[in-house]
Amino acid sequence: MSRWNCEETVGRISDFLDSDLTAEELGSFNEHMDACPPCKAELSAYQKMGDLCRDFAPLTPTADIWSAIDSRLPRQKARTLWPKVKAPRFAWLGGGALAAGFAAAFAWFYLAGPGAAPNSSTNIAVEAGLNKGNFEQRHLYLTGGNSGSSEFYQLAGY
């Protein structure tokens, strides 16, 4: 065990208070304290200082903080209508697949659907058919029928 001088010992008081000395250091610290009244008094001063802080009396504001809090709270705590359900781990994959499906249908509708009709007059006819609410025409759009063909126009009543 190494012998510590006063400076070393006092310099480690904070570590001692934080129980941050190794077993060997603690031995040196205690050995010096036992033999050195001024350092012991210094340690005692630090300990008293800590006690003063700890004994800091409980403080209570006489004013009613609760009234101020109460006035800021909503009258009725909002309650959740639906129970919170934890989403499965890969739930986002389902959402992604659904979004991709919609995107594909959208693209097909405009590229392979009536938008791909050969000329502008046909487009007008198709739009007119839609406006009339022609069921067969809509059905062909959705089932992937060749909207640009003459068959389509016959079915749709053109």
Partner: protein, 198 residues
């Protein structure tokens, strides 16, 4: 359910009831913890009006987050973390602190006048005077510290938090807390020499 019965309930039950919309249950949580929170904030900020305002703010935030609080969780731990973060934000915004007398009335956020009491119901007038003198000295000593050092002292001594717990709350390494604590102790020990020597 009466106030006394509510006050006897554990935190978890109070949180469950408050989550169901029972305002009285939340008030019981307030009754249980506001003094402790206020004391910590007063130690950190050195100003009764700020401590009262942030105590208020911490409870309002707790109410807003009630649905997220676990009924088996530690209510005070959550409140303390919120209060410390609010205190640190305020300290950093201001970077100065003025400790005010315990006897002096102060104005709260709404402009109302408030006074503050140091609780010691058993003390004689002389003991009370000594106690107030000592408290004033401790507050003055804390006022000499930097905001970061003061926050660490308040948490460690007023809240009896370990170095590791303070470090976690402040999100700094334990060594930083030890170093701040050591410097703060040295400064306070020097300032309080009349009270701690001999």
């Amino acid at each position: 359910m009466g106030k006394q019965e509510l006050n006897a309930l554990p935190d978890g039950e109070l949180i469950r009831r408050a989550q169901r919309g029972e305002r009285e249950a939340f008030e019981a949580v307030y009754e249980r913890y506001h003094s402790r929170l206020y004391r910590l904030l007063y130690g950190m900020l050195g100003n009764p009006a700020d401590a009262a305002d942030l105590t208020q703010e911490a409870f309002v935030r707790a109410y807003d987050k009630l649905d997220q609080l676990q009924s088996d969780g530690h209510m005070y731990g959550w409140l303390r973390r919120t209060a410390v973060n609010l205190g640190i934000d305020m300290i950093r915004r201001r970077q100065t602190v003025r400790f005010e007398s315990l006897d002096q009335p102060f104005e709260n956020e709404e402009g109302g006048s408030m006074a503050m009491e140091a609780e010691d119901p058993s003390a004689s007038p002389l003991e009370e005077l000594e106690s107030k003198t000592l408290q004033a000295a401790v507050l003055e000593a804390m006022a000499t510290l930097t905001p970061d050092h003061r926050a660490v002292v308040a948490m460690h001594y007023l809240e009896d938090m370990s170095v590791d717990d303070v470090a976690k709350l402040l999100e700094v390494p334990p060594g930083t807390v030890k170093s701040r604590l050591s410097r703060a102790r040295d400064a306070m020990r020097r300032y309080l020499s009349d009270y701690v020597e001999g």
